[in-house]
Subunit: 383 residues, 4 copies
């Protein structure tokens, strides 16, 4: 029996969306338990959240700096093994910094930071610290995404020529005609979200998913962004034309104003031999398209899948795994890194997005912004 | 903060399918923790499972009778609050009996027992004990099943005339041509499974789902069963024609030899005004069929749904809830009953299948068997 | 260049549904032209229809008897080559008889007659006459149905164990609450429709489709019928349990009161090796289900299909063939028989339902009625 | 009874794909009959085709110029009423010119010409001639496309903000690794196809469909094209970012190398109130997406649709209309224009793409090429 890892949370208090996901995902396999947290920038709300979650009052903090400092001061066998950073973007850099410098492993929401410079700084800090670090590009946790990746790697699709990845949400569309309702959304505030709304929130997921599956690196891109919600100070819609290194082409779409869409992240990859398609809203399937006239639907939990996909399925065929289970797969891999770090061992291979993915994501955002500002000029991918 | 309920497991040791589901489902909301178990009829395996799960050795038992006796003897604030019975059918009756008589609440896998007589006896024991009892007809835990039920209740479909519920699995089909591989399946052994394989395993889920959504009671039925897997000593395929009280008609299909099918439990209900369709393999949607030429797909996690469906969704729209989350909804409701019992309060309303559902399920099985044996004669539903 | 065959129509006047389908289907390939007709039992309406269709007044008849007599009296190179009988069931027998006895080939709507006795008499007449005869079980005309049949024949599914065929329409459901609107429907009048409404209209299509694809013959069946529309004097809903010769089991569902359904004829066939599924509302695809965890969708117009499926596709992949094209495939095969008959040659092989299918269809209806009347007793299939 | 219009064909000889579609579509309603043709640039092949089609040898021509001249010289009640131009792009201009100048109505395949200048010249000729002219952007013939258009026009979607239209075929992908097989494809030869392959063949359909449904006009665009098939002298993949007049944004994708795709033209339109989606491979449905959490599928042949959609359906609900029927709807509308022209009447309203659509299509192609050549610079839509 492995001991339960001690989890501390930054953010994710009462009423948060992603906070409970982190808690359910982290504890799903019984590998971790929540013991500490700074759940809100409002100390009262943080305390209330901690109480509701059954934490000892002494482990509920008014802010993450205090949390990092005081946790680090606890005895080795009491202090948190890792901190989950689940707060708006602008807080990522200082929070991650605080924990890394306190010698505490970190798993952080995406995008990594509010600027590429910050992201690079975080990468430097991670390397320097030697601590485990993961980024929650959670969609790579789905079993059939892993199957897609392995099939591309194995050459089943031939050489990849075309990638179409799209993420057209619609939840902001109602604010176009009812601008008053949109007040106070942090994602639309450059001070909190950084330079991008839609591309930061959705585009980076799409970029990460495409890269995870295909391994392709963006050489240059050409972007057009739009803002339809008046009170939004950033973009809420965008499209990016991509040239990958090696000659493949890509199209990446992201939007928050596609009225009536929910969360349809979707990717299609076409090689010289076959195509594939995966859809987040129907995540337990992967479609393989054969030019001879057959589309084969592979499904989660079967023995005909690759090892990575088999291991990532919680349940056998026909018993749907959901968003939480995919998210939990990230934690499961992250925990391998945390346990190694705790044991003073060399970090093992772990199938979880890391700080490099975060830097690339920020580079993607900034390249997109730069291209857009220069009238959709082809812009070399920043590094 | 509610205290964590203490969970004890019977069955669900290393390698089991449904055991981990119980553990993940029971603990998903942080409302319970596993503290005890008799994980296998093999004491060595039980110990190994307990160790792997991080339990204190003193709380890992060689069998459930010992577990019931010794847990009951523990101090009130230490003993388990409820026992999960996740063993093959023949063990349900004695295990449930042992815990109820020890004053411990029980949640039990379906079907309730191996005979209607046993089921009635369990019902008697539950009533006598005053303990909380739930049965894991887990498919009723899905949000969109709850939406379906509420729409029927509200009269949105008009008077219900027709129910088609089907559950055609295929996993046994490979044993038809390779009979050797099927050796040792407990579901096919009447001593362990009871008088039915396919109808007990799948048919009862279908019966329960149809009844949960429509509220209709079977008046009489006419059944044909078949056995295609030679080594199976029970049936692995069946179809049932149903006449419901009040005039509606039904068809219920269940099979284990529909080669290539996974877990496609599906229900269609047709009223005088509208029809509906729900599919377990695509569980976050509900289709409402309007005779005017519009099929509307409602989806989980939206505010246009009924309260029951909204509460049962863990995540907002577009973020798929899966099998585990639906299962966890049963536990969440069961916990209301357990907490009330622990507090000595009257049991509150709880949306979870209970012992009555179990008795009806067994009555269904025995009526089906009786009809089949009498050459598909219309047979009055047993009680 | 083959000369155009001369077509005469019985029924299918202004306002008819299936009449235009016959005309479009028969002429789609430029192999036939309409030259004569008795379009309605109302002579005025027949004349008006003939005029609208551009026929010479001399070839528009007041009734089919006159038409048969006078067409037969025309010179060989002028008279119709075949008659299409597209009138309600009760007219099939006398109309078919009139044309066969006049030496004219016939294609007739299903069901073949209003009784099994009549159907047998038609079979006798067809044999005696030596004329070409076809029955419009049009769903067998779809390319992917032909692919399904060939795959079963080739043994790709292994031995067939289970057939589920369903045809749940909903158009009559609105008459349940608004009985007044249902007045005058010929399908519900035993004098015109024969002894069955739903089974005659839909059940026979389902029976024919299942037999066409699997080749299985019904040994005995057990049926339950229901009537929900008050003004209907026949049944509008039914379910049939089937035992096929050789041991396979079947379930056949047909209904007209499944509110919100359109025309979802669907079949699933399960063998020892694989399953298949075909759906009329999405007709250009065929799903092959592999127990190893892959469902393969084959699509029309590709070179990986069998010859029969390739020939039956009018257009290449991705360009949907529809109902009319499938119907036209029946005519195309029927025309082979007509041309042979005209040339005094032996009838060639033709992939079109014939009089034997019509007799079996009527036997199916009468066996279903008999089983239902005897309380769902297992009833041997009539011959 | 309307008299049958006399049809003459240019192209569409033995072995052609689109030729038979034209013939089936034009004659489906019995409104026209083929009487003349220049079926191939090879006179022998033209004669053989004419013979196979049953034409009088005197009406089968060695080339379209001869055909135009000699048909025009026939008596009024014998000569063709219209010519169908179904030959590769480079022939459109001279053929259309020949017939218009001979006073004969024309329906022509898309794209209209091989250059914008040519297209403008055709427009001038059409206007000058006063003859009927139609362009076969056949996808606008589908009933549910008409429903989409009417719903946008009626404001059901609110103000349109976003259009995503895609047409990713895959048939050329096999030529990437097997370049030898691709020899001789006219679409890839600039002398025959004009300046574009993929955008001319597919992109113009997508552009036309988006404009037909939304009424939006492209203000400027930014395009990236690619060529993956070596022997192709034009592009076989492309993506276009669009800014519409009035502020809406668009993305248009077209490709011929998306391995495993068939003919999935698809459009999504998002307004301030709702979104819609239509897919050519499943053409009888239209999905309306409501931000409140309901996606409604409307289906062809129902009385809840707009008049245009109802009229365009050949068959009632559940009986699939296909590609040919949609194509036939273009002919049906074109025939209104032809009959008016023949009768010397003012052209009536007709719902069929015309010469203006052809000019816009060519402007689209040339603007895309220009943008691509200038490194994806935003380029104002040519006129």
């Amino acid at each position: 029996m492995k001991r339960k890892l001690r989890m501390g949370m930054v953010g994710g208090g009462i009423g948060a969306f992603i906070g409970p996901v982190h808690r359910m995902a982290a504890t799903l396999d019984g590998e971790a338990e929540l013991v500490a947290g700074a759940f809100s920038s409002d100390p009262k709300k943080s305390r209330a959240s901690g109480e509701q979650l059954g934490l000892a009052p002494s482990r509920v903090y008014a802010d993450y700096r205090e949390m990092a400092r005081r946790e680090a001061a606890l005895p080795e066998d009491e202090r948190i093994d890792f901190a989950t950073v689940a707060i708006p973007n602008a807080g990522h850099y200082p929070a991650v910094k605080a924990f890394l410098e306190a010698g505490i492993n970190v798993i952080c929401d995406k995008p990594l930071a509010v600027s590429l410079a910050q992201a690079r700084e975080i990468e430097r800090l991670v390397k320097k610290s030697g601590k485990a670090f993961a980024l929650t590009h959670n969609y790579t946790g789905y079993p059939m995404v892993k199957q897609a990746r392995q099939m591309v790697l194995a050459g089943d699709l031939g050489r990849i020529n075309k990638v179409i990845v799209e993420y057209p949400q619609g939840w902001m569309s109602s604010f176009i005609e009812n601008p008053g309702n949109a007040i106070g959304m942090w994602r639309t505030d450059p001070k909190i979200a950084g330079g991008s709304c839609c591309m930061g929130d959705l585009g980076t997921h799409a970029e990460n998913l495409a890269r995870y599956i295909t391994g392709l690196e963006i050489e240059r891109l050409c972007a057009d962004l739009a803002r339809f919600v008046e009170s939004n100070r950033l973009e809420d819609d965008g499209a990016v034309l991509i040239r990958y290194k090696g000659g493949a082409r890509g199209v990446l779409l992201a939007s928050q104003i596609c009225a009536g869409e929910e969360n349809p992240l979707k990717i299609r990859v076409y090689g010289t031999k076959r195509g594939l398609e995966w859809r987040q809203e129907d995540p337990n399937y992967l479609w393989i398209k054969d030019p001879a006239g057959a589309v084969t639907r592979l499904s989660k939990g079967n023995s005909n899948l690759c090892e990575e996909a088999r291991n990532a399925a919680r349940l056998i065929w026909g018993h749907p795994d959901g968003f939480i289970e995919a998210f939990a797969n990230l934690y499961r891999e992250f925990f391998k890194l945390v346990r190694a770090e705790r044991a003073g061992e060399k970090p093992p291979a772990a199938d979880v997005p890391g700080v490099r993915d975060g830097v690339i994501g920020m580079a993607f955002i900034e390249t997109v912004l730069q291209s857009h500002k220069s009238n959709a000029k082809w812009t070399k991918m920043l590094k």
